[in-house]
Symmetry: C2
Subunit: 217 residues, 2 copies
Amino acid sequence: MKPRVDYTLYLCTDRELMSEDTLEKSVELAIQGGVTVVQLREKDCSGREFLQVAREVKQITDAYEIPLIINDRIDIAMAVDADGVHLGQSDIPAHTARELLGPDKIIGVSAYNKELAVEAQKEGADYLGVGDIFGTSTKAGTHHVEIDTLSRICQAVKIPVVAIGGINLSNVTKLAGTGIQGTAVISAIIASKNITEAATKMLSLLKNEVIVNSPKA
Amino acid sequence: MKPRVDYTLYLCTDRELMSEDTLEKSVELAIQGGVTVVQLREKDCSGREFLQVAREVKQITDAYEIPLIINDRIDIAMAVDADGVHLGQSDIPAHTARELLGPDKIIGVSAYNKELAVEAQKEGADYLGVGDIFGTSTKAGTHHVEIDTLSRICQAVKIPVVAIGGINLSNVTKLAGTGIQGTAVISAIIASKNITEAATKMLSLLKNEVIVNSPKA
């Protein structure tokens, strides 16, 4: 059965930005602070290294019963029995991913406008990553998404929407009322000197001031 | 059941080197000249583009009943139902690939010394790609392999060995007596003005002067 995912505080990893020595330690500290789902995103490493890191992070996420999503590489997600994959617009399409992964895995898709969002839902995506909201330097080739557009996407689809891109403690409350189910955070947690505290503060803001909608089915 | 593969003339693709307008056309002309197996190698393109190209090339290889091997991306090999994958030393290990692909798919592994060759055989590889034999600029991070080393690898393993790296009509006969089951060729075919003729000449040299051993089981 497909796991129920709480998308409220969605951690994306980035080894170049992290303040801790190891990715596993960073992820563990973030989970202790309240991260609800983890996406492993490793763009500039070999398949073998990605697999190794995924196995190590999976031990942490399993221990805390937090879902682990693998970016792009469906084969690595299958090899480590991750909970799902996250696919960009230049990755393997969601319907092909579904054929490979079966009905019980989570498939997330990046969308930066309403048309792509509706299309991804139609192709069987379980959630959407929508951004870049506040401008980020962590990913090349991103598209800026206005908060109005984010709201319109949330209204247009039935699946949960996770906002992504430069979201931090100072700007996250601007997303209140958009209809998002969560925010994806990279540097605001991973690059923090106190990862656990950063995650706790972000989760508190999200729960108390941003995520006012009841979760979508 | 695992397909029997004739490794004699093993074409690796490289879109940057090809003389024809499309990869599918290049592959078709090469097959008409006698290529016995095709590996699709696309290092610098997105997963979505790789998948699309793989689907198009699969139509050609299927029409001519030639095995199609996908480089690195096991998920793409699964999505197009390719005959197998080829894995470098920095890709997902062969034993993990076998778990994902099952017993009926071909797994090839790159090895540049005897230890790696024996290890790959132990991990369940069906054949080895051994090189770089004659120095090639088409792949970064390659290791030079002496012809003596190539011979020792052929003696050390039971699985077929395919020599790779800068092999062309002028140097291929130097591989006679090494014990190889085939040669992988990129630019000597793909970059030729007459792809079919280049493949025919190479196959003739291989059959008449190089591959003197009876095929390994």
